[in-house]
Structures are given as C-alpha cells and as structure tokens.
C-alpha cells in the first residue's frame, strides 16, 4: 500500500482522469441500479399505494406472499415453463450448431435462416404465433385438420399453453446457436480427425469431443436460459393475459399487475425480491454443480 503523498505526478493524473472517465458509470450504478434496489428493498417492508403515505408492516408482505394462491399459481407456471424450456433452448441449439458447423456449400445461408427468428421484435413474434396457434384458421390447426386430426386450442387450452410458449422460445433461440457455433469453431479439426482414425463414429465424436469441450458454453447458455425463463413476461402479457384459468400466469405478469394495475407497491416489491432470491439460488446451484460437469481447457477457469 502506497501513501497518497508518495504518489508520483503520473499516478495522480491517472487517478484524476480515471475517475473523470468512469464517473458516468459510477453515477449510473447508484442512480439506476443500487439506489433503486435499496429503495425497492425498503418499500417491500411497507404497504404503499403511491397516493397515501407508506405504512411500515415489517415482514407482512413476505409472509402473505407464500400463502397467496395467485403467487403460488404463478410460481408453479413459471417453474413449469422454466423446467420445460431451459433444457430445450440449451440442447436443441447445440445440435443445430453442430449441423451448421459441418463444411458444406451454402452454409452461410442456413446460418442466417436459423438466426433470423431471434431478431424479430417480440411483439411481432407474439402476433405471428397467436395467429399460427389460432383454433379456427391458424396454420397449425389447418395442417392438423388436413392430416385428419382434431382441433387443438393451443394457447387457449390450460394444458397446452405452456408447451406452446416453449415452442416459440425454441424458435427464437438463434442467439444461443450463434454462441455455440463460435465455440465449435474453436475446437481444432485435428481432434476429430484423430478420433475418426481411431474409428470413432459421429455420435461417439459428439459425445466424447464436442460435448466435453463445449461444457463451459453449455453452462453459460444454461444459466442465461434459467435467468430469462424465470422472468418471462411479454409473451404471456400479449398472447394470453395469463389465461386460460391462470394457466400462463407468469410470475412477472402477476408482479406487473400487482404493481401497476393494483398499485400495491410494497407487496410487488416484496414479490420482486423473492424472484431475485429464487434466481440467485438457482444460479448458485448450477454454479456449484458446475465443477462436476464443466471442463475448462488447461484447468483454466473462465
């Protein structure tokens, strides 16, 4: 540790200019992140409808929350969606990326095709899929009827709504494909060639070379998928409004309603902290499990 007075002139200018440059970011951290978080924590211990003064209620919001049937229902929906979607949007993009990483002509066209759905604005994709899932003249039902099947209600059926939304998530998982693809391109061809000489087939090479070397990226995509799925909002807000019979009442949707339709700011702030803790715990569990299955090259972490 060096004494302030012993700083050289150069260090002093660097210090001065350093804070000059990162200053905006420090302001941003407090104004848009840490400040609001503290504020949110504070109001989560109150009852507040924005108009009348806040009333301190201690842990009441948190206690009520776990007995609130709507909260429990939304947790159920959100977990169900997460457990269904996360494996799908982690694994299917990997398989697609492997396919896209083969050396055949015209591959850049295919890469574009698989990526494009993920840049469609979420409202537009909600509109498209609402139409595709429409029971009367939607594409899927038309095809099903052509094949002699009976009509499905998809997003209007309590049993089918969550899987229907999961399909949408897979369709829009192009980002994940791109991330996997970049990782696959980092694996040296020699490994595969050596394995091929040893007589390893395609599936063996995938299992023993691709998957182990990709575990850090699988891990990253897995964590991101959990964080995103737990916060799903827009699709259900636009397409189903939580219905039918609250079968797609996502946690974030309930939170939005509680805060902005019912103005129960204290209660909804408490809800948001519960979600934060759930996401943090899930992420921590995945991180803890990671040293059992994530393999870093050269034993180098990160």
């Amino acid at each position: 540790m060096r004494n302030e007075k012993k700083m050289t002139a150069k260090e002093k200018t660097q210090l001065k200019w350093g804070y000059f440059f990162i200053g905006p970011s420090i302001i941003g951290l407090f104004c848009f992140n840490f400040g609001p978080m503290l504020f949110s924590l504070a109001i989560s211990f109150t009852e507040w409808d924005v108009i009348t003064p806040k009333v301190f209620v201690g842990l009441k919001n948190y206690r009520e929350l776990f007995r609130d049937p709507l909260v429990l229902q939304s947790l159920k929906v959100t977990f169900l969606y997460t457990f269904l979607t996360v494996p799908l949007v982690t694994c299917i993009p990997l398989l697609i990326a492997v396919l896209l990483n083969t050396r055949v002509k015209g591959m850049s066209v295919f890469r574009t095709i698989f990526y494009i759905p993920s840049i469609v604005p979420v409202v537009a994709s909600a509109a498209i899929w609402m139409y595709i899932y429409n029971p009367m003249y939607g594409l899927l039902n038309s095809v099903i009827r052509l094949c002699g099947g009976s009509t499905h209600n998809f997003i209007f059926d309590p049993k089918e709504v969550i899987p229907s939304l999961a399909v949408m998530a897979v369709w829009a998982a192009g980002n994940t494909v791109v991330i996997y693809l970049a990782g696959l391109q980092g694996i040296s061809r020699e490994l595969y060639e050596a394995a091929e000489l040893d007589g390893a087939g395609g599936i063996a090479r995938f299992r023993h070379i691709t998957v182990p070397l990709m575990t850090p990226i699988i891990f990253y995509n897995f964590v991101m998928a959990i964080i995103n799925s737990m916060q799903t909002f827009t699709q259900s807000y636009i397409m189903t409004d939580g219905g039918p019979a609250n079968a797609s009442l996502f946690y974030s949707l309930l939170l939005y309603r509680t805060a902005f339709k019912q103005s129960r700011m204290g209660y909804s702030a408490a809800m948001s902290w519960v979600l934060f803790v759930i996401i943090a715990v899930l992420t921590a569990l995945v991180f803890r499990s990671s040293d059992r299955w994530v393999i870093y090259e050269n034993g180098d972490k990160g």
Partner: protein, 277 residues
C-alpha cells in the same frame, strides 16, 4: 466406398438443414402470405397457401387505422438517441477502465459487471416510482437517459477491444503534451469503429424490440412506439389477422435490414457475450 459414404452423409446433412430451415422460415412465410390476403381469403377452408393478389391494400388500411407513421418516428427517435448515448458512454467509460491505472478501478469494474446479474424485474418497480416522482412519466427520458451512463455489457465489450490497441499511442501522445481526453477523442475512439458498430447495432436491436419500457412509461397516444402500438392494435382489432400481419411485417423489416447491413457486428457481439461471459 468411403467417398460414396461421405456423399451420402452430405446429402443427409442437406436434407436435415432444409427440413429445419423450412420449419424456421414457416412463420415468416405465413406472416407475409397473410399480410397480402383479405380476411375472407384467410378464413376460407380448405386453407389457401398463397394470396390471390399482391398489393399493399392491408398495409395502407392498417396505417389508416392508427397513426403508425407517428409511432415509427417515435421509435426511430428513441433508437437514435440511445445509439448515440450508448456509443458515447461505453467508449468513454471503457477508456477509463482500459487505458488508465488508478486505485479503485478494479473495484468499480467489478461493481459494474455485477449489475449484469440483477434481474430487470427487481429494478422495474423502484425505477418506475423514481421516474414518476421526478415527473418523467409520459416522456422518453426514462427510456433514453440511462443509456448515457454506460451499460455493463457494452463497457465490457469496448474495454476488451481497447485492450488490443497498443499503449504506445498513448505514450507518444502524452509526450507531445496531449491530455487523456485528447487521446480518447482523437486516437482511441477513431480506431475503434468496429466495436462501436457492434454497440450501435445491439442498442438498435434492444431499443427497437423493447416492449416493457414503453409499456411502463408511455401512455400518451402521440408518444407510443411501434411495439406498443402493435400490441394495442392487436387488442382493438382482435380478428383482423391480415392487418396485424401487415403491421408485424413492417415492424420486423427494419431489424432484418439492419441485420443484413451489419451482420458481422451482430455475430461478433453475440459471440463475445458467450465466450467472455
């Protein structure tokens, strides 16, 4: 024999790719097909795979129902402000983190990165209450101002890029009596066009697609963005699928254009998020 097997394999790969591509593209085809049909055509049984005519009737009708030109302008203004804000702030802040050495630098950088872990859902309510308190509800300030204070991902991205620019430039400029600001503005910033493009493209994408922000802060008709307007339209014209699909097409088009113009920067940015993140 080996050669024919390889050929077979290649054929199989093509078949799989084409099959999957059709699945991926089908929603687009369906959207565009329906955007040219009348509602009667849409509802005919058996299903019609192609529209009987191609004109912009639905597009005109949809634009006549609501001031969509205005919504486009609103979205464009917010996007433009955010692109400028993100590029300026990320390049500026990253300069401090990448090119200068000072006490507290690593601490603040860790703090900044930690914000990537905060779920948006937690920030939504307090941020809203604060913006409302300072009178920024129903203005575009809550949707634009934060961009000028740097976003963790952008700063991280730019910092990595700066690290690849030799520090000799800085040293030489310092000897010549330049200040650090001059080094940033005259030397480092002009050299980092590619990464600025990535930041710009990502900001464009995030802002154009943003639904939650406008939903929370913009309630006035003349402030609405395209995403919000499409959602409102869907609520008011429940079964006019042809108009809805026309609007969905129009809203998606800018994204596709930007993607094809700046494909390289897109891919670089996403790749970065996966490899370094």
């Amino acid at each position: 024999m080996k050669k024919s097997r390889r050929k077979e394999k290649r054929l199989l790969i093509y078949l799989l790719l084409i099959l999957l591509s059709v699945l991926m593209l089908f929603p687009f085809y369906w959207m565009i097909r329906s955007s040219f049909m009348s509602n009667r055509e849409i509802m005919t049984v058996p299903i019609q795979w192609l529209p009987s005519h191609y004109d912009l009737e639905n597009y005109k009708n949809a634009f006549a129902r609501a001031p969509f030109a205005r919504y486009f302008l609103n979205s464009a203004v917010i996007v433009a402000i955010n692109m400028v804000g993100s590029i300026l702030s990320a390049s500026f802040i990253a300069f401090g983190f990448a090119r200068l050495k000072f006490r507290g630098r690593n601490f603040w950088f860790a703090m900044l990165l930690s914000t990537m872990m905060i779920p948006q859902t937690v920030l939504m309510i307090p941020q809203f209450l604060i913006w409302q308190r300072v009178g920024a509800y129903n203005t575009i300030i809550p949707l634009t101002l934060p961009c000028f204070f740097g976003n963790a991902f952008n700063v991280f991205l730019v910092r990595q890029f700066y690290a690849g620019i030799p520090k000799d430039y800085d040293e030489a400029a310092l000897v010549d009596g330049a200040s650090y600001f001059t080094i940033y503005w005259r030397i480092v910033l002009p050299m980092s066009k590619p990464v600025m493009c990535t930041v710009g493209v990502f900001t464009f994408m995030g802002t154009w697609n943003d639904f939650m922000g406008p939903l929370l802060y913009l309630d006035k008709e003349n402030l609405k963005t395209v995403s919000l307007a499409l959602q409102n339209f869907m609520g008011q014209h429940v079964s006019e699928w042809n108009l809805m699909m026309a609007l969905a097409t129009v809203i998606t088009l800018p994204m596709i254009v930007v993607y094809f113009m700046a494909q390289r920067y897109f891919i670089e940015g996403i790749t970065f998020s996966g490899i370094k993140g």
